[in-house]
Symmetry: C2
Subunit: 405 residues, 2 copies
């Protein structure tokens, strides 16, 4: 009988999604399961996008051009210019979600066996894209104790070797919520340039910075444009994750010509959702003010919840809508399962993402979880309350040796 490939066997399951069947089973038993595991915003998709879908009016739902519809490339270019990022439509290719942007970038800069440096914990789907493209993600550690800031450049430089083709950052960061500030980014861009490697920045959370912090794009750093690749998506920006519309952008023409060949191989990105995304990109930036205020309230609610759990290590993050917390337990994976199979607090429980899946180095992150705060404040309060009770109980069970190792 035919078998499957080694790369299929060794492909990681999504640590974010793999517990979903347990959550569904818990819901069937009548529990309220607050979803803190996935970055699916509950904020309504803005009306202009929904209206664009309703008004889609082509007789033939035709292929789009491989690099994306002209009107959408134009809309992205204008949006970037509003953000002080100078990118022409020809320097942008529409991708099927930010995922595909990463995929194209990996294919374009790496041959199998080549390396890209990532800062762990990192967005777990980078693993999936690296695995599929034969790229080795070389992790450089960051730590809960200092809010997962970039490490000193010397330790990053140590990770660079002959096979290194790029450094990939996510800013604001998923899964840590960390916002990297300009001085560190300038150093990083210079480091990449010095070694003739690319700096790739996943900036899908660009707008989501709190406490008055402003976002620095790698495209704001002058002089390193030929080494910079920006990855972007409308998913989080406009609560439109289901649109699967992202972009890869660079001023490096050879790189963009390569990405175009990969784009041609998959023909095009979805047509209706390019039309819908355009409506988002044309919206006035004032749209974000109340959204950001809401996310900041939620962030504060989560941090207040953590402050009531003794032994938690978690610095207040300033961006995106994630936070990684180190818990006073040993096994966060078992904890996350237990929350869904053996626990409830007044009929409520939570689904969280065990953080080990966000690390590449075996053994790291075992007592950490990632939380997405994509729930209303009242629900978040209840969720954090249930989580606090859960942590306490589970820690006792571990202490009593009642959790299988």
């Amino acid at each position: 009988m035919s078998t499957i490939s080694n790369r299929a066997k060794t492909m990681q399951e999504s640590p974010i999604r793999k517990l979903i069947p347990l959550a569904n089973a818990a819901r069937k038993r009548g529990l309220t399961v607050f979803p803190l595991n996935i970055g699916q915003p509950d904020i309504h998709t803005p009306e202009p996008i929904r209206e664009a879908i309703r008004s889609f009016d082509q007789h033939v739902l035709a292929y789009s051009p491989s690099p994306g519809e002209d009107y959408l490339l134009e809309a992205f270019s204008n949006y970037y210019k509003k953000n002080n990022i100078q990118l022409e439509p020809s320097e942008i290719i529409v991708t099927t979600g930010g995922s595909e942007a990463i995929f194209f970038a990996f294919l374009a800069i790496c041959d199998p066996g080549d390396e890209v440096i990532v800062f762990e914990p990192f967005y777990t789907n980078y693993n999936g894209m690296a695995h599929q493209t034969g790229v080795y993600l070389r992790p450089v550690k960051t730590f809960a104790e200092d809010g997962f800031q970039l490490p000193p450049m010397e330790s990053i430089e140590k990770a660079i070797n002959k096979k290194t083709r790029g450094i990939l950052i996510c800013n604001p960061n998923n899964p840590t919520g960390t916002v990297y500030e300009k001085p560190a980014l300038v150093e990083l861009a210079k480091l990449a340039e010095k070694h003739g490697i690319y700096l790739l920045a996943d900036e899908v959370y660009r707008e989501f910075t709190y406490d008055g912090l402003t976002h620095t794009s790698i495209m704001h750093i002058p002089g390193t444009e030929q080494n910079s690749i920006m990855l972007d998506s409308v998913s989080k920006r406009y609560s439109a994750c289901g649109a699967r519309i992202g972009v890869v952008a660079s001023k490096n023409k050879e790189l963009m010509a390569s990405c175009l060949k990969f784009a041609q191989a998959r023909l095009s990105s979805p047509t209706v959702e390019q039309w819908a995304s355009r409506a988002g990109m044309l919206m006035d930036p004032s749209y974000f003010a109340p959204i950001l205020a809401e996310y900041q309230r939620r962030r504060d609610t989560v941090m207040e919840g953590f402050s009531k759990i003794p032994g938690v290590v978690c610095k207040t993050p300033c961006g995106a809508f994630y936070v990684i917390a180190k818990l006073p337990i040993d096994d966060a994976e078992a904890f996350a399962r237990w929350l869904l199979t053996d626990f409830n607090h007044d009929g409520k429980t939570v689904i969280v993402a065990p953080a080990a899946g966000f690390y590449a180095t075996p053994g790291l992150g075992k007592n950490e979880i990632r939380i997405s705060y994509v729930l209303e404040v009242e629900k978040l309060k209840a969720a954090m309350e249930a989580l606090a009770v859960g942590v306490k109980k589970f820690a006792e069970l571990e202490k009593a040796g009642k959790i299988a190792k």
Copy 2:
């Protein structure tokens, strides 16, 4: 400065799309350019699909489940059962176009360096997917002279070696329009089973068979289910290429579990277009009768056009909406360019796909072109007329040594 990868440098440009800039330039000069290059049907997308888009009504345009929306998996399963194909929703995963279905299948069955047998000429985007996944497509030749039917099993068996993981067919065939009939398919499925390799069938043109021919799915062949992978898409079936909705389907559970991991890595397929595709899958099969009659008329128009060009080799194809023709010229690539840059017939010309891009073996297909008949009969007549004049003139120019080799 950073460079790009070897796999980016050696990635093939789309032979179907690469001439588009020349066609656009010709249009700017005032020419009518009939598009015979791309499989983009002009048939209107059925009203139920367009109505589903207009009625899309979710407050949040959210991620879909990675394997696809339950309602769509259910709709595909029911559609297959109507086609006498027994597939449960759990045996189907929604993909972002048929392209991604091929991509997942290659990843799931092949490690880099493994081989999949294809029958050349073959759908050029298989090249792109193979290139990206490090799969070697081992070509087995088929010939214009016998309508590109499958070769004898002995010659296929000779192409199987230790690295072979599958045999990929497209039935009805893009780019040849050939329909493989049941006896040959049964032999092929048995051959795959004998060698413990997969039989992959791209059946996106399932409904498009002419002259009363019925389509045989690999899922109609009993006893080889564990080795069979079906690839499908709504693109051609419902003139909905822009939806980017396909599926990979198999009764092999381990294979489907692998595909699911790859699906998780890219999160989900587009949400609005899953909703829209459902409306297509629910349509009554009677929808196809007038569409097929129309395509058959077009096929006849193309064949009549070819019959008037002396020296053309082209057997009447019975399926899909493509035909490959061997022309009485030496260099079809130069011819296709010349049609757009230096030729017009009463202000009209055509864009065709040079067929060499559909072959893997260097040197093959050099005097062949692929035509898609996705234009109304009157336009097709005019296009074939222009093509006939073009072939004659170009052959003379070649003879006179006026075409650079």
